[in-house]
Symmetry: D3
Subunit: 285 residues, 6 copies
C-alpha cells in the first residue's frame, strides 16, 4: 500500500463529497451505538486493486472500525468472493460504503483491464505502460492499479522525465535542436524520449542520440520498419490507437513498450457490493 499521507486528505474530501451535510437516512434509522459486520463482495471476475486504500475510508469515519482482508491486491477473484469483512459502528459502515466501493470498483477495473492487455502480449517481452491520461485527482492510485495489474508506470508527472512531443517541436526548430537543448540544460538526464511520426523523424532522433522513441499512431507496417531501422539503438514505445484487438499484433512487430491510455481513463468499473451480515448493540451485551 502507498503511504496513507499521500491520500488520506483526498479520501476525506471524497467522504465529504458523498456525505454533503450528513447522511440523513442513516442518522434517522441507525442508532449511534449499534455495531455491524459487513462483507464486501465481488459480483464479477476481477483483479483486485486498492482494497486497503478503499477500506481506509471506514477508519477515517470511525477509528473503531476493523477491516479484515480475505484477498490482497493483485489476486483474481471470482463472482461471490468475499474481499473484506468490515466490522465496527454501523453508521460508519453505511456512511462509508459508497465511497469505498466507488474507489475499489474503479481501481479494480483498471487492474483488470491492464491485466488483459498484459496477458495479450504474454511471451513477447513487451511491457504495457500507463500514460498521463488519468482522471484528475486519481493519478497515483490509477498508476498503482496499473502496476497491480502487471503494467509498468510511465512518468508520474511532467517533472519526472523529458518527453519531446510534436507540440514542443513547433517552438524549437526540430528534434536535433530540441535534444541538444535538453542535453545542455540537463546534462545529468540519462533518458530523453522523443515522439516521432515517420521514418525521417526516427532517424533524426536516433542521430540526436535519444534513448527512447515514441512511435505515435503508426500502422503495423510502419512499426516494423521502425524496428528494422532502429535495431535496438533506442527503446521503442508505441502509443495511440492501441486496443485489446490489436495490441498483440503491435507487440509482435518487435517494439519494446506499449503505452495505453484507456487502461486508466476508460476502464469499466468492476461490479461489487457490500452487505451488512450482522447487527448488534455492544452496550446490551
Amino acid at each position: 500500500m502507498l503511504p496513507a499521507v499521500l491520500f488520506d486528505d483526498w479520501l476525506k474530501n471524497a467522504l465529504r463529497e458523498d456525505l454533503g451535510t450528513g447522511d440523513i437516512t442513516t442518522e434517522i434509522l441507525v442508532p449511534a451505538g449499534l455495531w455491524g459486520r459487513a462483507e464486501i463482495l465481488a459480483k464479477e471476475t476481477a483483479v483486485v486493486a486498492g482494497l486497503e486504500v478503499a477500506c481506509r475510508v471506514f477508519r477515517l469515519l470511525d477509528e473503531a472500525v476493523v477491516c479484515r482482508f480475505l484477498v490482497s491486491d493483485g489476486m483474481t477473484v471470482a463472482p461471490g468472493r468475499i474481499l473484506s469483512v468490515v466490522e465496527g459502528p454501523l453508521r460508519a459502515l453505511l456512511c462509508g460504503e459508497r465511497v469505498a466501493l466507488n474507489l475499489l470498483q474503479h481501481l479494480s477495473g483498471v487492474a483488470t483491464l491492464t491485466q488483459r492487455y498484459v496477458q495479450e502480449v504474454a511471451g513477447t517481452g513487451v511491457k504495457i505502460l500507463d500514460t498521463r491520461k488519468t482522471l484528475p485527482g486519481l493519478r497515483i492510485l490509477e498508476k498503482y492499479a496499473v502496476r497491480v495489474g502487471g503494467g509498468v508506470s510511465h512518468r508520474a508527472s511532467l517533472s519526472e522525465g523529458v518527453l519531446i512531443k510534436e507540440n514542443h517541436l513547433r517552438a524549437c526548430g526540430g528534434i536535433r535542436q530540441a535534444v541538444e537543448a535538453v542535453r545542455a540544460l540537463c546534462p545529468q538526464l540519462r533518458e530523453v524520449e522523443v515522439e516521432v511520426t515517420n521514418a525521417a523523424e526516427t532517424k533524426e532522433a536516433l542521430e540526436a542520440g535519444v534513448s527512447r522513441i515514441l512511435l505515435d499512431n503508426m500502422t503495423l507496417d510502419d512499426l516494423r520498419s521502425m524496428v528494422s531501422l532502429v535495431r535496438g539503438r533506442a527503446t521503442l514505445e508505441v502509443s495511440g490507437g492501441v486496443g485489446l484487438e490489436n495490441v498483440r499484433c503491435i507487440a509482435d512487430t518487435g517494439v519494446d513498450l506499449i503505452s495505453v491510455g484507456r487502461i486508466s481513463h476508460s476502464a469499466p468499473g468492476v461490479d461489487l457490493s457490500m452487505l451488512v451480515r450482522d447487527v448488534w448493540d455492544p452496550s446490551s451485551k
Copy 2:
C-alpha cells in the same frame, strides 16, 4: 457552466498533480515569451461536456490565455471538429494540455454514453438518472455531464434525500418502521424512497405511504408485476444490471425512472487532441 468557485481549487490540484515540480520539457524547449494558438479537436463522434470547465485550466495557469468556444456543451460533434481555439503564452498551453484533455474526454464520455441511454428510451417518457456511483472528487462534474447528455440528476449526496436501502433495514426492523421513523423526525420531507426486492416489500412500502420505490435488480417480469401492483401510487425507479442492451425493455415495462451507474463510472473517454497551430513571439512584432 457551474460557478468556478466550486471547482477552481480542484482544477489547481489536478494541475499540480500533472506538473509535479514543473514541466521540464516545456521549460527547456519553450522560451517564456513565446505565444501560441492551439486547437482542441474531436477525433471521434461525441456529445461535448465540460468544455468551458476544461479550458479554464489554461487560464488558471496564465490569465493571459483566451479561449474561443466553437461548440457548446450538449452539441454532438463529428471527428475533426474543432471544439475550442486557445491562444496565449505557449508554456501555459503545453503545461495545461493534458489536464484539460483528461477532463474533457471524461466528461464528454459521460455525456455521450448518457445520451445513448436517453435515446434508447426515447418516446417512453422514462427518465435516465445518474447515481452516487461516481469517481471520487468528480461528482458534481460527472452529474453535470449526465444532465448535458439528457439525463436527470438523482440526489447529489447522502444529505439530499432519504433513500432506505436493504442495509438500513437490518438496523430498524422493517420498511414500515423505517418510514415512520423518517416521518417522525423529518416531517417536512415530501419524498421518501425505499429500495425493495420483491412484491411483498413493494406492498409494505406502498402501505407505508412512500412516494418513490427503488426496484433493485428485478427481472422484466417482476418489473411488470410491480407496475401493475403500484398503479401510479408511487414513482418507480429501476436500478441494477441496466445496460444499453436491455434499457429499452426495462423502460417498456412502464416504470418511471432508470438509474444507471455505468454512465458515470464506466463511460469510455472520448478521443480528443490538442494541436498547436501557430507560434509567435509578441515582443518581436
Copy 3:
C-alpha cells in the same frame, strides 16, 4: 453526533485561530507533564447542543484527553449543572477551553432559542424551520442545533431544493413561467416552492401546481386569507418578521411551517464556564 470528518478540519482551524503562534501563558505556567480534571458548567438555564462536538476540541489537541458527558444534547440544564468532565494533559485543557466554550455556548444558544419558538407554537402542529441565514462556516452545526431544539431543517444549501424568490422572477417573467421551466428541466423534483407577497401571486402559484408556498412578510389578516385561499392544496410556509412575541399568532392562522432566521443568526450565547478542579503529575505517582 455528526460524522467528525465533516467538522474536524474546521475545528482545527478554530484552534489555530485562537492559539495564534501558541498559548504563551500556558506554556510558561503549566509544565508539559501535568494533568488536570476540569468541569464544564452551565451558568444559566439552557438546552444543551454540540457538547460532543465542542469537547472534541480537547482530543484534537491531545489524544490522551478523555471526556465524560453528564448530559446529552437536547437536555435542558439548570445553572450550576455540570455538562462534562474533561480529564487529560492540563495544557490541552487550557489551550482548548475557549474554542470549546465558544462553540458550545453558541450552539446551545441556538437550541435554547429554537425550543422557545417551538414551545410557543406547541399544540398547533406548526413546525419551526431554520433558514440559510446562518453564520459563515457554521451552517451544518447551527442546523444541527436547531434540530436539537425541536426545530426542523429547511434546505441546507442552494442545491437541495428549488425555491423561487422575488429576485428570480425578475429574470423569468412570472411564477407560471418559472415553475414550468423547473418542471421541464428537473422533472424528477417533487417539491417546488415559490415565494409570494399577495393573493394574486398565491393563486398563480397554486395554478402552476407548486407544492409549497412561502408567504413573505404578510400581516396576520393576509395569512388567514391565504390559508382560506389555499385550503390545503399546498404547504404554507411563513417567513419574515417572526419573533417570539408574534409566532403563536402566526401559527394560529393555520399555516404549516414558520421559518425563523434569528434562531441561528441572532441567538444569544449561553453563559458557560470551565473550571479546573484537580491538577496532578502522573509521573510522580
Copy 4:
C-alpha cells in the same frame, strides 16, 4: 479593509457551504448571459461594518461584478438606506446574495451593539474591549467590527499576550510565582495581566508588579474598592456580567477598561435585504 489574503479563502468556503453542488433555482431560471443591478438596503437603523468584505463575495463568484459603496464602514444608517449597488452577471448576484447578507448583517450587528456600549460610557474615558469569545472562524472579522463600532481590540489570540487566569494559577502556586515565571522566561514582555477575584489577590498582583489587572465578576462596591486600592498603579479591566443596563455604573467606578463578550457572540443580526432593480442582456444591446 483588511488585506483580502486574510479572508478570501474563508469567503470561498462560505460560498461553497451555501452553494452545495450548485444553485439549481438560479441555474434553471436565470440565463448565463443576463446581467442585473441590485441594491443592498438596511431595513433597520444600524452601524455598518464589513460592507467591502461582504461585497467581495460577488467578485469571488465573477470578476465582472462591480460594487459601488454608498456608505462606508462605521456610518450609522437609517432604514431604507442603500448601502451598496452591485452590478454584474445576474447569476453571480443571486448566488452570492445570502452569503454576503449573512456576513454583513452579523458584522453590522456587532458594530451596532458595540457602539451602544461605547455610547453608554461616553465621557468616562473608559474603553470598551472585545474578548476571545468570538464565533469560530470569525475572529478577525468580529474584532474588526468591534473597532468599527468604536471598541478597542484585546489580544487576538493566546499568543499575543500573557493573561494569567484562575485556571492557570491552579498549576503554579499563586500570582507571585506566576508573574515571576513570566518575567524569567519572557523578560521582554512589558504587559502582564492577571485575573483576580478579591482584594487580597489584587494586592498580590500589585506587589508582583503586574501592569494590568482583570477584575472578574465583581460587584460595583468591590470595583470601587479595587480602584481605591490600586490608585493608578495598574490598568484595571472589568469583565463578566457586563450588560447595557449596568455598563455605565461599572464605568463610573473609575476602572479603565471593560471587556464585553456579548458584543461579539450575542450581537443580534441587523435586518438587511438585497433587491434586484434591473435586469438586462448585454449581448442584445
Copy 5:
C-alpha cells in the same frame, strides 16, 4: 513542544513534498511487514532543537512508530551522541528519514547559532532577539528554536505589536505624528516601538513618549551616544549588521536588546544522520 495542531498539516505537506508519488526505492526493497530500529545521531557539536517535532514525522507516516528521546531540546550534544531511537515499520522509518533530519538539522542549527550569540553577551544583561527574517512557513518553529537557544522572541507577526519604520514615516509626516496616530487609534497599546537612525530622531521618539527605540545600523559610537541620550527612559534595541564578531561590543554600549536576523535565516544546518541498527519481521517471531 508546541501543540501539534499548529504544525501537523505542515509536516504532512513536507512529507508529500519529499515522497512525490511514493518512495519507489523503499517500496521495491523493503517488504511492508518488516520492522526496524534506527538511531538519530549528532555528527557535530550542537544545541538540539525540534527533536520531538521532527520525530513526529515518523508517527504521521505510521502510528505504530515509537520514538524514544535520549536528549531533550536545549541540551548541547557532542558528535556521536544518540538523540533518539525510533522503532517501527521500516518503511515509515526510511520514508520519513529525510524530512525529519532536514527539520532537525535546521532547527538545531538555529538554536546552536543563537546560543553562541547569547554566550557572547553573557553577563551584560543584554537579550538576543529574533526577527521576522524567517524562512517562509517556518516562523513558529524557528522562533521556538531561538528560545531553545536562549534567545527571546520578538513579535511573531505584524499583528503582535506596533513597530514604526522608516518606510512608514514616509506616509505619515514624522515620528511624533505617527506615535500620536497610534495612541489615538490603539489607546490600550502599552508598547510602541520606533526605528531611528540618528540622535535627532531618537530625541523626537523620546519626546513622543515611545517605550522602545530601534537603533538601526548605527556605529558603536552612535550607540553609546544614544544610551547616554536616552538614560533608561526607553528600551533600546539594536538591529542591522550584527555578527558574532561585534555583538559583544554592541552589548557593551549599554543597550538592552539586540535583534539578529541571521540566527534564523542564515544558521548553518547541523550535521546529523540516521542509521538503521536492527531489522526484523514481527510476524515471524
Copy 6:
C-alpha cells in the same frame, strides 16, 4: 519562472504567517488610498534568484501592484544595485515587504553559494548537484535557485528515481539482490544508483550493472581508486563532507558529479532591503 500554480497558495500562507491578524502599524499609519513606489536593492554582491516569485507577493496582496524588473534571475549584482521597482497601493508594498525579502534573500543566497561551488570546479567538467536536504516546503524553489546558480538538479523527490542507500541494504541482503529486485519490478528504469562506502561495494555495484554510483564520505585517495576501478562504466557521484575548501580537489579526482547539501540548507541569506522612494495619493491628482 515556475508556473505560479505551484507556489501561489504557498506564498499566501507565507503572507498569512507574517500578517497574523493584520499589519496594525500600516493600518494605523498608511491611509488605504495612498500609493507608493519602492526599490528593492542588493546590499552585497549576489547572484539573484527568485526575483519574480518574490515580487509576486505584492500582487497577491493587491492586483494593482506593478513590478518592474531591472535584473533577471542568474545575474550577479553589486551592492546598491536596484533589482526591482515595485509600484502600487502603499499598504500592499509595506505588508508584503518582509515576505518578499525573506524569500528573495534566501533563494539568492542559495544561487550565490551554488555559483561559488560551480566556479571552484570550473574546467573539470564536474557538475554540482543539489540534494533532498532542503528546508521543508521550499524544495522546488531551492532547487530552482540551484539551477539559477549553475548547479544541476538531482531527483526532486523519492518518486523520481531509485537510489539504494545503506539503510535500504539492511533490509534486502546486498547490492546485487537490491539491484535485481529493482530490475524485476521496474524494468523500464534506465538509471539505478547505489550508495557505496568502499571498493568491494563499488565492484559489486558495477557487476550488478548499475549506471550510477554514489561514493559516500570517501577520502580523496579512495575517490581516485574508485575512478580507476570504474573506468567510466558508471557515473560517479560524490556526496558527504563537501565544502568550498575541498570541492576542487574532489573534482580533480575524476568523478562526474558532486552533490552538496549545504548549498540549500546552509546558504547564508543575501543582504537586501526595500526602500519606499515616493508616496502619493492618486485621488488628489
